[in-house]
Protein backbone atom coordinates (compact mmCIF):
# COMPACT_ATOMS: atom_id res chain seq x y z
CA UNK A 1 0.00 0.00 0.00
CA UNK A 2 2.66 2.43 1.03
CA UNK A 3 4.55 1.43 -2.10
CA UNK A 4 1.59 2.41 -4.20
CA UNK A 5 1.29 5.66 -2.34
CA UNK A 6 4.94 6.32 -2.90
CA UNK A 7 4.70 5.66 -6.63
CA UNK A 8 1.72 7.93 -6.89
CA UNK A 9 3.45 10.76 -5.11
CA UNK A 10 6.52 10.27 -7.32
CA UNK A 11 4.39 10.37 -10.39
CA UNK A 12 2.70 13.48 -9.13
CA UNK A 13 5.84 15.50 -8.63
CA UNK A 14 7.90 13.71 -11.25
CA UNK A 15 10.92 13.29 -9.00
CA UNK A 16 12.25 11.09 -6.24
CA UNK A 17 12.78 11.86 -2.59
CA UNK A 18 16.48 12.61 -3.21
CA UNK A 19 15.52 15.01 -5.92
CA UNK A 20 12.97 16.67 -3.66
CA UNK A 21 15.66 17.24 -1.06
CA UNK A 22 18.07 18.60 -3.67
CA UNK A 23 15.32 20.73 -5.03
CA UNK A 24 14.51 22.14 -1.60
CA UNK A 25 18.19 22.85 -1.01
CA UNK A 26 18.49 24.67 -4.32
CA UNK A 27 15.34 26.65 -3.59
CA UNK A 28 16.71 27.67 -0.22
CA UNK A 29 20.00 28.79 -1.74
CA UNK A 30 18.15 30.60 -4.53
CA UNK A 31 15.96 32.43 -2.03
CA UNK A 32 18.95 33.55 0.03
CA UNK A 33 20.70 34.72 -3.14
CA UNK A 34 17.64 36.73 -4.15
CA UNK A 35 17.46 38.35 -0.72
CA UNK A 36 21.10 39.45 -0.71
CA UNK A 37 21.30 40.13 -4.48
CA UNK A 38 20.69 43.91 -4.28
CA UNK A 39 23.95 44.24 -2.36
CA UNK A 40 25.83 43.04 -5.43
CA UNK A 41 23.73 43.97 -8.45
CA UNK A 42 21.93 47.01 -9.74
CA UNK A 43 18.44 46.72 -8.14
CA UNK A 44 16.50 47.99 -11.18
CA UNK A 45 18.10 45.27 -13.26
CA UNK A 46 17.17 42.65 -10.68
CA UNK A 47 13.58 43.88 -10.52
CA UNK A 48 13.33 43.74 -14.30
CA UNK A 49 14.68 40.23 -14.17
CA UNK A 50 12.15 39.15 -11.55
CA UNK A 51 9.25 40.63 -13.53
CA UNK A 52 10.27 38.83 -16.71
CA UNK A 53 10.95 35.62 -14.82
CA UNK A 54 7.42 35.67 -13.43
CA UNK A 55 6.06 36.51 -16.87
CA UNK A 56 7.89 33.56 -18.42
CA UNK A 57 6.72 31.19 -15.68
CA UNK A 58 3.14 32.36 -16.22
CA UNK A 59 3.54 31.72 -19.93
CA UNK A 60 5.02 28.30 -19.25
CA UNK A 61 1.88 27.42 -17.31
CA UNK A 62 0.16 27.36 -20.67
CA UNK A 63 2.87 26.02 -22.97
CA UNK A 64 4.60 23.65 -20.60
CA UNK A 65 1.70 22.32 -18.59
CA UNK A 66 -1.22 22.55 -21.01
CA UNK A 67 0.61 22.27 -24.31
CA UNK A 68 -0.86 25.47 -25.75
CA UNK A 69 1.51 27.83 -27.55
CA UNK A 70 0.21 31.36 -27.15
CA UNK A 71 1.77 33.96 -29.40
CA UNK A 72 -0.15 36.77 -27.74
CA UNK A 73 1.00 36.94 -24.15
CA UNK A 74 2.31 40.47 -24.59
CA UNK A 75 -1.35 41.51 -24.44
CA UNK A 76 -1.60 40.47 -20.80
CA UNK A 77 1.83 41.67 -19.77
CA UNK A 78 1.61 45.02 -21.54
CA UNK A 79 -2.13 45.39 -21.00
CA UNK A 80 -1.73 44.98 -17.25
CA UNK A 81 1.12 47.49 -17.32
CA UNK A 82 -1.27 50.03 -18.86
CA UNK A 83 -4.08 49.24 -16.41
CA UNK A 84 -1.84 49.46 -13.37
CA UNK A 85 -0.15 52.63 -14.59
CA UNK A 86 -3.52 54.24 -15.33
CA UNK A 87 -5.02 53.22 -11.98
CA UNK A 88 -2.07 54.43 -9.97
CA UNK A 89 -1.60 57.66 -11.88
CA UNK A 90 -5.16 58.78 -12.70
CA UNK A 91 -7.16 57.23 -9.87
CA UNK A 92 -4.35 57.67 -7.32
CA UNK A 93 -4.83 54.25 -5.77
CA UNK A 94 -2.16 52.50 -3.71
CA UNK A 95 0.31 50.26 -5.58
CA UNK A 96 -1.19 46.97 -4.41
CA UNK A 97 -4.64 48.04 -5.64
CA UNK A 98 -3.03 49.20 -8.87
CA UNK A 99 -1.46 45.81 -9.44
CA UNK A 100 -4.77 44.14 -8.59
CA UNK A 101 -6.42 46.26 -11.28
CA UNK A 102 -3.74 45.10 -13.71
CA UNK A 103 -4.23 41.45 -12.79
CA UNK A 104 -8.02 41.64 -13.13
CA UNK A 105 -7.72 43.48 -16.44
CA UNK A 106 -5.29 40.89 -17.77
CA UNK A 107 -7.58 38.09 -16.62
CA UNK A 108 -10.51 39.70 -18.44
CA UNK A 109 -8.42 40.04 -21.60
CA UNK A 110 -7.37 36.42 -21.15
CA UNK A 111 -10.99 35.35 -20.90
CA UNK A 112 -11.82 37.10 -24.17
CA UNK A 113 -8.74 35.92 -26.09
CA UNK A 114 -8.98 32.43 -24.69
CA UNK A 115 -12.65 32.18 -25.61
CA UNK A 116 -11.75 32.61 -29.28
CA UNK A 117 -8.40 30.86 -29.34
CA UNK A 118 -9.40 27.55 -27.75
CA UNK A 119 -11.75 26.94 -30.63
CA UNK A 120 -8.75 25.80 -32.67
CA UNK A 121 -5.69 23.76 -31.81
CA UNK A 122 -1.97 23.68 -32.38
CA UNK A 123 -0.68 26.04 -35.03
CA UNK A 124 -4.02 27.75 -35.48
CA UNK A 125 -4.13 28.48 -31.75
CA UNK A 126 -0.78 30.23 -32.06
CA UNK A 127 -1.89 32.26 -35.06
CA UNK A 128 -5.19 33.30 -33.50
CA UNK A 129 -3.54 34.49 -30.30
CA UNK A 130 -1.00 36.40 -32.38
CA UNK A 131 -3.70 38.07 -34.46
CA UNK A 132 -5.82 39.00 -31.44
CA UNK A 133 -2.76 40.37 -29.67
CA UNK A 134 -1.99 42.50 -32.70
CA UNK A 135 -5.56 43.78 -32.56
CA UNK A 136 -5.00 44.78 -28.95
CA UNK A 137 -1.77 46.47 -29.99
CA UNK A 138 -3.66 48.63 -32.49
CA UNK A 139 -6.26 49.34 -29.83
CA UNK A 140 -3.51 50.57 -27.48
CA UNK A 141 -2.04 52.64 -30.30
CA UNK A 142 -5.32 54.51 -30.77
CA UNK A 143 -6.99 54.45 -27.36
CA UNK A 144 -7.12 57.65 -25.32
CA UNK A 145 -5.92 56.37 -21.95
CA UNK A 146 -2.72 54.74 -23.27
CA UNK A 147 -1.48 58.04 -24.77
CA UNK A 148 -0.50 56.30 -28.01
CA UNK A 149 3.18 56.48 -28.92
CA UNK A 150 4.08 58.35 -25.73
CA UNK A 151 2.75 55.73 -23.37
CA UNK A 152 1.85 56.49 -19.76
CA UNK A 153 4.82 58.35 -18.32
CA UNK A 154 6.02 59.14 -14.78
CA UNK A 155 3.82 56.67 -12.98
CA UNK A 156 4.10 57.19 -9.21
CA UNK A 157 5.18 54.16 -7.20
CA UNK A 158 3.28 55.40 -4.17
CA UNK A 159 3.13 53.87 -0.69
CA UNK A 160 2.46 50.17 -0.23
CA UNK A 161 -0.74 49.83 1.85
CA UNK A 162 -0.33 53.57 2.30
CA UNK A 163 2.64 52.90 4.61
CA UNK A 164 5.86 51.80 2.92
CA UNK A 165 7.39 54.31 0.54
CA UNK A 166 8.23 52.42 -2.64
CA UNK A 167 10.32 55.26 -4.05
CA UNK A 168 13.01 53.81 -1.86
CA UNK A 169 14.77 51.32 -4.15
CA UNK A 170 15.39 48.75 -1.44
CA UNK A 171 11.75 48.68 -0.35
CA UNK A 172 10.73 48.45 -3.98
CA UNK A 173 13.07 45.53 -4.56
CA UNK A 174 11.68 43.53 -1.68
CA UNK A 175 8.17 44.37 -2.73
CA UNK A 176 8.90 43.01 -6.24
CA UNK A 177 10.58 39.97 -4.75
CA UNK A 178 7.46 39.40 -2.64
CA UNK A 179 5.21 39.68 -5.67
CA UNK A 180 7.46 37.27 -7.55
CA UNK A 181 7.39 34.70 -4.76
CA UNK A 182 3.63 34.95 -4.39
CA UNK A 183 3.30 34.41 -8.12
CA UNK A 184 5.61 31.40 -8.05
CA UNK A 185 3.78 29.83 -5.12
CA UNK A 186 0.47 30.27 -6.94
CA UNK A 187 1.93 28.62 -10.06
CA UNK A 188 3.39 25.78 -8.00
CA UNK A 189 0.09 25.22 -6.19
CA UNK A 190 -1.80 25.41 -9.46
CA UNK A 191 0.20 22.81 -11.37
CA UNK A 192 0.15 20.41 -8.44
CA UNK A 193 -3.58 20.73 -7.92
CA UNK A 194 -6.13 18.32 -9.44
CA UNK A 195 -6.83 21.06 -11.97
CA UNK A 196 -3.15 21.08 -12.98
CA UNK A 197 -3.15 17.29 -13.30
CA UNK A 198 -6.05 17.45 -15.72
CA UNK A 199 -4.21 20.10 -17.71
CA UNK A 200 -1.22 17.79 -18.01
CA UNK A 201 -3.48 14.99 -19.15
CA UNK A 202 -4.83 17.30 -21.85
CA UNK A 203 -1.27 18.05 -22.90
CA UNK A 204 -0.39 14.36 -23.08
CA UNK A 205 -3.51 13.13 -24.79
CA UNK A 206 -6.41 15.45 -25.40
CA UNK A 207 -8.67 12.80 -26.94
CA UNK A 208 -8.30 10.55 -23.92
CA UNK A 209 -9.02 13.42 -21.54
CA UNK A 210 -12.22 14.07 -23.48
CA UNK A 211 -13.20 10.42 -23.38
CA UNK A 212 -12.67 10.41 -19.61
CA UNK A 213 -15.42 12.98 -19.45
CA UNK A 214 -13.43 16.15 -18.84
CA UNK A 215 -14.73 19.29 -20.42
CA UNK A 216 -11.40 20.03 -22.05
CA UNK A 217 -12.39 23.42 -23.44
CA UNK A 218 -13.30 24.69 -19.98
CA UNK A 219 -10.01 23.52 -18.48
CA UNK A 220 -8.05 25.09 -21.31
CA UNK A 221 -9.88 28.36 -20.81
CA UNK A 222 -9.21 28.17 -17.07
CA UNK A 223 -5.50 27.67 -17.69
CA UNK A 224 -5.50 30.50 -20.21
CA UNK A 225 -7.11 32.95 -17.80
CA UNK A 226 -4.81 31.87 -14.98
CA UNK A 227 -1.75 32.31 -17.17
CA UNK A 228 -3.01 35.70 -18.35
CA UNK A 229 -3.67 36.89 -14.79
CA UNK A 230 -0.16 35.91 -13.66
CA UNK A 231 1.37 37.53 -16.73
CA UNK A 232 -0.64 40.57 -15.70
CA UNK A 233 0.82 40.40 -12.20
CA UNK A 234 4.28 40.58 -13.76
CA UNK A 235 3.29 43.35 -16.18
CA UNK A 236 1.63 45.53 -13.56
CA UNK A 237 4.64 45.20 -11.29
CA UNK A 238 6.97 46.10 -14.14
CA UNK A 239 4.98 49.28 -14.77
CA UNK A 240 5.62 50.33 -11.17
CA UNK A 241 9.31 49.44 -11.33
CA UNK A 242 10.02 51.45 -14.46
CA UNK A 243 7.25 53.99 -13.79
CA UNK A 244 5.96 53.87 -17.35
CA UNK A 245 3.86 51.71 -19.64
CA UNK A 246 4.48 51.79 -23.38
CA UNK A 247 3.62 50.05 -26.62
CA UNK A 248 6.80 47.95 -26.43
CA UNK A 249 5.18 45.73 -23.84
CA UNK A 250 2.16 44.91 -26.02
CA UNK A 251 4.01 44.33 -29.31
CA UNK A 252 4.40 40.89 -30.88
CA UNK A 253 8.15 41.04 -30.23
CA UNK A 254 7.39 40.80 -26.52
CA UNK A 255 5.26 37.70 -27.11
CA UNK A 256 8.19 36.21 -28.99
CA UNK A 257 10.61 37.11 -26.23
CA UNK A 258 8.67 35.30 -23.56
CA UNK A 259 8.52 32.20 -25.76
CA UNK A 260 12.28 32.35 -26.12
CA UNK A 261 12.81 32.70 -22.37
CA UNK A 262 10.66 29.64 -21.74
CA UNK A 263 12.22 27.59 -24.52
CA UNK A 264 15.72 28.52 -23.42
CA UNK A 265 15.09 27.74 -19.77
CA UNK A 266 13.11 24.56 -20.31
CA UNK A 267 9.51 24.11 -21.36
CA UNK A 268 7.45 22.34 -18.73
CA UNK A 269 9.88 22.87 -15.87
CA UNK A 270 8.82 25.03 -12.94
CA UNK A 271 12.04 27.00 -12.59
CA UNK A 272 13.43 26.77 -16.13
CA UNK A 273 11.77 29.95 -17.41
CA UNK A 274 13.40 31.90 -14.55
CA UNK A 275 16.82 30.97 -15.90
CA UNK A 276 15.71 31.62 -19.47
CA UNK A 277 14.43 35.06 -18.49
CA UNK A 278 17.63 35.79 -16.60
CA UNK A 279 19.74 34.93 -19.62
CA UNK A 280 17.66 36.91 -22.10
CA UNK A 281 17.41 40.00 -19.88
CA UNK A 282 21.14 39.92 -19.14
CA UNK A 283 21.88 39.57 -22.85
CA UNK A 284 19.63 42.52 -23.66
CA UNK A 285 21.25 44.65 -20.97
CA UNK A 286 24.66 43.74 -22.29
CA UNK A 287 23.78 44.51 -25.89
CA UNK A 288 21.83 47.66 -25.10
CA UNK A 289 25.02 49.70 -25.04
CA UNK A 290 26.37 48.29 -28.32
CA UNK A 291 25.14 49.06 -31.81
CA UNK A 292 24.51 45.43 -32.56
CA UNK A 293 20.77 44.72 -32.72
CA UNK A 294 19.37 42.27 -30.17
CA UNK A 295 16.95 40.80 -32.73
CA UNK A 296 19.71 39.04 -34.64
CA UNK A 297 21.00 37.33 -31.49
CA UNK A 298 17.46 36.53 -30.35
CA UNK A 299 16.65 35.01 -33.72
CA UNK A 300 19.80 32.89 -33.85
CA UNK A 301 19.33 31.68 -30.27
CA UNK A 302 15.74 30.79 -31.19
CA UNK A 303 16.85 28.68 -34.14
CA UNK A 304 19.65 26.98 -32.20
CA UNK A 305 17.28 26.17 -29.32
CA UNK A 306 14.69 24.66 -31.63
CA UNK A 307 17.24 22.64 -33.57
CA UNK A 308 19.49 21.21 -30.88
CA UNK A 309 18.45 22.45 -27.44
CA UNK A 310 14.75 21.73 -27.17
CA UNK A 311 14.88 20.66 -23.52
CA UNK A 312 16.31 24.00 -22.45
CA UNK A 313 18.84 24.63 -19.68
CA UNK A 314 16.94 23.06 -16.82
CA UNK A 315 15.54 20.28 -18.99
CA UNK A 316 19.06 19.37 -20.10
CA UNK A 317 20.21 19.45 -16.49
CA UNK A 318 17.43 17.09 -15.41
CA UNK A 319 18.26 14.75 -18.27
CA UNK A 320 22.02 14.92 -17.70
CA UNK A 321 23.93 12.28 -15.76
CA UNK A 322 24.25 14.55 -12.74
CA UNK A 323 20.57 15.41 -12.87
CA UNK A 324 19.55 11.77 -13.06
CA UNK A 325 21.87 10.84 -10.24
CA UNK A 326 20.17 13.49 -8.14
CA UNK A 327 16.91 11.73 -8.93
CA UNK A 328 15.32 14.08 -11.45
CA UNK A 329 13.60 12.82 -14.50
CA UNK A 330 12.56 14.70 -17.55
CA UNK A 331 9.80 13.32 -19.61
CA UNK A 332 9.61 15.35 -22.78
Amino acid sequence: MSDVMHTTSTARTGRSATASRTYAAFLGIGLVLLIVAPLFFYPIFLMKLLCFALFACAFNLLLGYTGLLSFGHATFFGGAAYFTAHAVKEWAVTPEIGILVGVLGAAALGLIMGFFAIRRQGIYFAMITLALAQMFFFFCLQAEFTHGEDGIQSVPRGHLFGLVDLNDTTSMYYFVLGVFLIGMIVIWRFINSPFGMILKSIRENEQRAISLGYSVARYKLGAFVMSAALAGLAGGTKALVFQFATLTDVGWQMSGEVILMTLLGGIGTLIGPIFGAGLVVTLQNYLATSQFPVTIITGVVFMVCVLVFRRGIIGEFYASRLGRRLGFEHRR
Partner: protein, 295 residues
Amino acid sequence: MTMIFGIPLQAFMGQLLIGLINGSFYALLSLGLAVIFGLLRVINFAHGAQYMLGAFVAMLMLQYFGINYWFALLLAPIVVGLFGAVIERLLLSRLYKLDHLYGLLFTFGLALTIEGTFRYLYGSSGQPYAPPPQLTGATNLGFMFLPNYRGWVVVASLFVCIGTWLLIEKTKLGAYLRAATENPTLVQAFGVNVPMLLTLTYALGAGLAAFAGVLAAPVYQVSPLMGSNIIIVVFAVVVVGGMGSIMGAIITGYILGIAEGLTKVFYPEASSIVIFVIMAIVLLIRPAGLFGRDA
Protein backbone atom coordinates in the same frame (compact mmCIF):
# COMPACT_ATOMS: atom_id res chain seq x y z
CA MET B 1 -20.32 64.88 -57.76
CA THR B 2 -21.54 61.31 -57.75
CA MET B 3 -22.09 59.97 -54.25
CA ILE B 4 -22.30 56.40 -53.09
CA PHE B 5 -23.57 55.65 -49.55
CA GLY B 6 -22.94 59.32 -48.78
CA ILE B 7 -19.28 59.04 -49.79
CA PRO B 8 -17.87 60.74 -52.91
CA LEU B 9 -17.51 58.10 -55.61
CA GLN B 10 -13.90 59.03 -56.17
CA ALA B 11 -12.91 58.45 -52.54
CA PHE B 12 -14.92 55.27 -52.49
CA MET B 13 -13.27 53.86 -55.60
CA GLY B 14 -9.86 55.03 -54.42
CA GLN B 15 -10.12 53.09 -51.17
CA LEU B 16 -11.59 50.13 -53.01
CA LEU B 17 -8.52 50.12 -55.23
CA ILE B 18 -6.15 50.35 -52.25
CA GLY B 19 -8.08 47.47 -50.72
CA LEU B 20 -7.72 45.48 -53.90
CA ILE B 21 -3.97 46.14 -53.96
CA ASN B 22 -3.56 45.09 -50.33
CA GLY B 23 -5.77 42.11 -51.13
CA SER B 24 -3.41 41.17 -53.95
CA PHE B 25 -0.53 40.96 -51.51
CA TYR B 26 -2.59 39.12 -48.91
CA ALA B 27 -3.66 36.64 -51.58
CA LEU B 28 -0.12 36.03 -52.83
CA LEU B 29 1.25 35.63 -49.33
CA SER B 30 -1.53 33.46 -47.93
CA LEU B 31 -1.30 31.34 -51.06
CA GLY B 32 2.38 30.70 -50.36
CA LEU B 33 1.65 29.94 -46.70
CA ALA B 34 -1.08 27.51 -47.70
CA VAL B 35 1.13 25.74 -50.24
CA ILE B 36 3.92 25.31 -47.69
CA PHE B 37 1.57 24.31 -44.91
CA GLY B 38 -0.25 21.82 -47.11
CA LEU B 39 2.82 19.70 -47.66
CA LEU B 40 5.29 20.56 -44.91
CA ARG B 41 2.80 21.16 -42.08
CA VAL B 42 4.93 24.15 -41.17
CA ILE B 43 3.56 27.62 -40.68
CA ASN B 44 6.22 29.69 -42.32
CA PHE B 45 6.68 32.65 -39.99
CA ALA B 46 9.59 33.73 -42.19
CA HIS B 47 7.15 34.39 -45.02
CA GLY B 48 7.10 38.09 -44.22
CA ALA B 49 10.89 38.16 -44.11
CA GLN B 50 11.04 36.43 -47.49
CA TYR B 51 8.61 39.01 -48.87
CA MET B 52 10.91 41.73 -47.54
CA LEU B 53 13.93 39.93 -48.99
CA GLY B 54 12.28 39.94 -52.42
CA ALA B 55 11.90 43.71 -52.31
CA PHE B 56 15.47 44.18 -51.06
CA VAL B 57 16.97 41.85 -53.65
CA ALA B 58 15.20 43.82 -56.38
CA MET B 59 16.45 47.12 -54.98
CA LEU B 60 20.03 45.91 -54.51
CA MET B 61 20.10 44.37 -57.98
CA LEU B 62 19.16 47.74 -59.37
CA GLN B 63 21.72 49.56 -57.25
CA TYR B 64 24.69 47.30 -57.87
CA PHE B 65 24.06 45.62 -61.21
CA GLY B 66 21.59 47.96 -62.85
CA ILE B 67 19.13 45.10 -63.27
CA ASN B 68 15.76 46.63 -64.11
CA TYR B 69 12.36 45.93 -62.58
CA TRP B 70 11.26 43.29 -65.09
CA PHE B 71 14.34 41.11 -64.65
CA ALA B 72 14.17 41.63 -60.91
CA LEU B 73 10.58 40.39 -60.93
CA LEU B 74 11.93 37.17 -62.40
CA LEU B 75 15.30 36.92 -60.62
CA ALA B 76 14.44 37.97 -57.06
CA PRO B 77 11.97 35.09 -56.54
CA ILE B 78 14.61 32.67 -57.86
CA VAL B 79 17.27 34.04 -55.50
CA VAL B 80 14.95 33.97 -52.50
CA GLY B 81 13.60 30.58 -53.54
CA LEU B 82 17.13 29.17 -53.61
CA PHE B 83 17.80 30.68 -50.21
CA GLY B 84 14.62 29.02 -48.98
CA ALA B 85 15.66 25.69 -50.48
CA VAL B 86 19.00 25.81 -48.67
CA ILE B 87 17.32 26.65 -45.36
CA GLU B 88 14.79 23.85 -45.82
CA ARG B 89 17.41 21.27 -46.79
CA LEU B 90 19.90 22.09 -44.05
CA LEU B 91 17.74 23.08 -41.10
CA LEU B 92 13.99 22.99 -41.42
CA SER B 93 13.90 19.39 -42.66
CA ARG B 94 15.28 18.27 -39.28
CA LEU B 95 12.08 19.36 -37.57
CA TYR B 96 9.41 17.47 -39.53
CA LYS B 97 9.26 14.56 -37.14
CA LEU B 98 8.63 16.87 -34.18
CA ASP B 99 5.57 18.80 -33.06
CA HIS B 100 4.57 21.27 -35.78
CA LEU B 101 4.96 24.11 -33.31
CA TYR B 102 8.74 23.75 -33.55
CA GLY B 103 8.56 24.58 -37.25
CA LEU B 104 6.69 27.75 -36.36
CA LEU B 105 9.24 28.67 -33.69
CA PHE B 106 12.18 27.94 -35.99
CA THR B 107 10.83 30.11 -38.80
CA PHE B 108 10.04 32.80 -36.23
CA GLY B 109 13.70 32.81 -35.23
CA LEU B 110 14.67 32.89 -38.89
CA ALA B 111 12.39 35.87 -39.49
CA LEU B 112 13.91 37.76 -36.53
CA THR B 113 17.43 37.04 -37.77
CA ILE B 114 16.76 38.17 -41.34
CA GLU B 115 14.86 41.26 -40.24
CA GLY B 116 17.48 42.17 -37.65
CA THR B 117 20.30 41.77 -40.16
CA PHE B 118 18.66 44.06 -42.70
CA ARG B 119 17.81 46.58 -40.03
CA TYR B 120 21.44 46.56 -38.96
CA LEU B 121 22.68 47.03 -42.53
CA TYR B 122 20.08 49.42 -43.94
CA GLY B 123 18.37 51.09 -40.99
CA SER B 124 14.66 51.07 -40.21
CA SER B 125 13.54 53.75 -42.61
CA GLY B 126 12.15 52.86 -46.00
CA GLN B 127 13.90 53.43 -49.29
CA PRO B 128 12.09 54.27 -52.51
CA TYR B 129 12.06 51.96 -55.53
CA ALA B 130 10.80 53.58 -58.71
CA PRO B 131 8.13 51.80 -60.74
CA PRO B 132 9.27 50.76 -64.24
CA PRO B 133 9.00 53.57 -66.84
CA GLN B 134 6.44 51.57 -68.84
CA LEU B 135 4.01 51.75 -65.93
CA THR B 136 4.34 55.31 -64.69
CA GLY B 137 1.45 57.70 -65.12
CA ALA B 138 -2.24 56.99 -64.73
CA THR B 139 -5.25 56.08 -66.81
CA ASN B 140 -8.50 58.01 -66.65
CA LEU B 141 -11.31 55.53 -66.10
CA GLY B 142 -13.94 58.26 -66.29
CA PHE B 143 -14.87 58.11 -62.62
CA MET B 144 -11.31 58.03 -61.28
CA PHE B 145 -7.62 58.04 -62.19
CA LEU B 146 -6.01 54.62 -61.97
CA PRO B 147 -2.24 54.70 -61.49
CA ASN B 148 -0.95 52.26 -64.08
CA TYR B 149 1.42 50.51 -61.72
CA ARG B 150 -1.37 49.73 -59.28
CA GLY B 151 -3.46 48.26 -62.04
CA TRP B 152 -0.47 46.11 -62.98
CA VAL B 153 -0.11 44.84 -59.40
CA VAL B 154 -3.69 43.58 -59.40
CA VAL B 155 -3.33 41.93 -62.80
CA ALA B 156 0.06 40.37 -62.04
CA SER B 157 -1.01 38.96 -58.70
CA LEU B 158 -4.22 37.50 -60.17
CA PHE B 159 -2.17 35.97 -62.95
CA VAL B 160 0.36 34.38 -60.58
CA CYS B 161 -2.31 33.19 -58.16
CA ILE B 162 -4.26 31.47 -60.90
CA GLY B 163 -1.03 30.11 -62.40
CA THR B 164 -0.04 28.57 -59.06
CA TRP B 165 -3.50 27.13 -58.65
CA LEU B 166 -3.29 25.55 -62.12
CA LEU B 167 0.20 24.23 -61.34
CA ILE B 168 -1.07 22.46 -58.26
CA GLU B 169 -4.46 21.31 -59.49
CA LYS B 170 -3.80 20.51 -63.14
CA THR B 171 -0.21 19.38 -63.66
CA LYS B 172 1.57 16.14 -62.93
CA LEU B 173 3.93 17.83 -60.47
CA GLY B 174 0.90 19.25 -58.71
CA ALA B 175 -0.64 15.80 -58.57
CA TYR B 176 2.49 14.51 -56.85
CA LEU B 177 2.30 17.40 -54.44
CA ARG B 178 -1.31 16.75 -53.58
CA ALA B 179 -0.68 13.03 -53.24
CA ALA B 180 2.27 13.66 -50.93
CA THR B 181 0.05 15.93 -48.84
CA GLU B 182 -2.40 13.07 -48.35
CA ASN B 183 0.10 10.29 -47.72
CA PRO B 184 3.83 10.98 -48.02
CA THR B 185 4.92 7.44 -47.16
CA LEU B 186 2.85 5.86 -49.90
CA VAL B 187 3.97 8.40 -52.48
CA GLN B 188 7.58 7.73 -51.57
CA ALA B 189 6.97 4.00 -51.95
CA PHE B 190 5.87 4.70 -55.52
CA GLY B 191 9.30 6.09 -56.23
CA VAL B 192 8.64 9.81 -55.91
CA ASN B 193 11.43 11.74 -54.25
CA VAL B 194 9.35 13.25 -51.44
CA PRO B 195 12.18 15.10 -49.63
CA MET B 196 12.98 16.83 -52.92
CA LEU B 197 9.30 17.65 -53.32
CA LEU B 198 9.31 19.24 -49.85
CA THR B 199 12.34 21.36 -50.73
CA LEU B 200 10.76 22.45 -54.00
CA THR B 201 7.54 23.36 -52.22
CA TYR B 202 9.30 25.49 -49.66
CA ALA B 203 11.30 27.17 -52.41
CA LEU B 204 8.08 27.80 -54.35
CA GLY B 205 6.43 29.37 -51.30
CA ALA B 206 9.46 31.54 -50.58
CA GLY B 207 9.61 32.53 -54.26
CA LEU B 208 5.95 33.55 -54.21
CA ALA B 209 6.61 35.72 -51.17
CA ALA B 210 9.60 37.31 -52.92
CA PHE B 211 7.48 37.94 -56.03
CA ALA B 212 4.96 39.76 -53.85
CA GLY B 213 7.85 41.68 -52.33
CA VAL B 214 9.10 42.93 -55.70
CA LEU B 215 5.56 43.87 -56.70
CA ALA B 216 5.20 45.76 -53.43
CA ALA B 217 8.53 47.60 -53.66
CA PRO B 218 7.26 50.53 -55.80
CA VAL B 219 3.92 50.74 -53.92
CA TYR B 220 5.25 50.76 -50.38
CA GLN B 221 8.80 51.65 -49.54
CA VAL B 222 11.49 49.02 -49.29
CA SER B 223 12.01 48.67 -45.56
CA PRO B 224 13.27 45.87 -43.29
CA LEU B 225 10.03 46.14 -41.33
CA MET B 226 7.66 45.67 -44.26
CA GLY B 227 7.54 41.91 -43.71
CA SER B 228 6.60 41.76 -40.06
CA ASN B 229 3.96 44.44 -40.58
CA ILE B 230 2.08 42.35 -43.10
CA ILE B 231 2.67 38.78 -41.92
CA ILE B 232 0.41 38.94 -38.87
CA VAL B 233 -2.47 40.22 -41.00
CA VAL B 234 -1.79 37.39 -43.44
CA PHE B 235 -1.98 34.92 -40.56
CA ALA B 236 -5.43 36.24 -39.74
CA VAL B 237 -6.34 35.87 -43.42
CA VAL B 238 -5.18 32.27 -43.31
CA VAL B 239 -7.22 31.57 -40.18
CA VAL B 240 -10.29 33.04 -41.88
CA GLY B 241 -9.75 31.10 -45.09
CA GLY B 242 -8.68 27.85 -43.54
CA MET B 243 -5.57 26.33 -45.01
CA GLY B 244 -7.26 23.38 -46.61
CA SER B 245 -7.72 24.95 -50.02
CA ILE B 246 -5.43 26.93 -52.31
CA MET B 247 -8.31 28.72 -54.00
CA GLY B 248 -9.75 29.48 -50.57
CA ALA B 249 -6.54 31.24 -49.55
CA ILE B 250 -6.56 33.35 -52.73
CA ILE B 251 -10.22 34.37 -52.53
CA THR B 252 -10.02 35.16 -48.81
CA GLY B 253 -6.97 37.34 -49.43
CA TYR B 254 -8.77 39.52 -51.96
CA ILE B 255 -12.01 39.68 -49.96
CA LEU B 256 -10.29 40.76 -46.77
CA GLY B 257 -8.16 43.31 -48.59
CA ILE B 258 -11.30 44.88 -50.03
CA ALA B 259 -13.06 44.70 -46.66
CA GLU B 260 -10.14 46.58 -45.14
CA GLY B 261 -10.26 49.21 -47.89
CA LEU B 262 -13.99 49.76 -47.46
CA THR B 263 -13.62 50.09 -43.71
CA LYS B 264 -11.18 52.89 -44.36
CA VAL B 265 -14.01 54.76 -46.14
CA PHE B 266 -16.75 54.25 -43.60
CA TYR B 267 -14.97 53.95 -40.27
CA PRO B 268 -11.27 54.74 -40.64
CA GLU B 269 -10.43 54.15 -36.97
CA ALA B 270 -11.23 50.46 -37.30
CA SER B 271 -9.39 49.84 -40.56
CA SER B 272 -6.30 48.41 -38.91
CA ILE B 273 -8.28 45.90 -36.87
CA VAL B 274 -11.16 44.97 -39.17
CA ILE B 275 -9.44 41.82 -40.47
CA PHE B 276 -8.88 40.61 -36.91
CA VAL B 277 -12.52 41.30 -36.07
CA ILE B 278 -13.62 39.32 -39.11
CA MET B 279 -11.33 36.54 -37.98
CA ALA B 280 -12.98 36.48 -34.55
CA ILE B 281 -16.45 36.36 -36.09
CA VAL B 282 -15.49 33.54 -38.46
CA LEU B 283 -14.04 31.62 -35.51
CA LEU B 284 -17.39 31.89 -33.75
CA ILE B 285 -19.46 30.77 -36.72
CA ARG B 286 -17.15 28.42 -38.60
CA PRO B 287 -14.11 27.52 -36.46
CA ALA B 288 -12.51 25.55 -39.34
CA GLY B 289 -12.41 28.68 -41.52
CA LEU B 290 -14.47 29.55 -44.59
CA PHE B 291 -12.78 27.02 -46.86
CA GLY B 292 -11.24 24.78 -44.19
CA ARG B 293 -11.69 21.06 -44.21
CA ASP B 294 -10.06 20.01 -40.96
CA ALA B 295 -11.77 20.47 -37.63
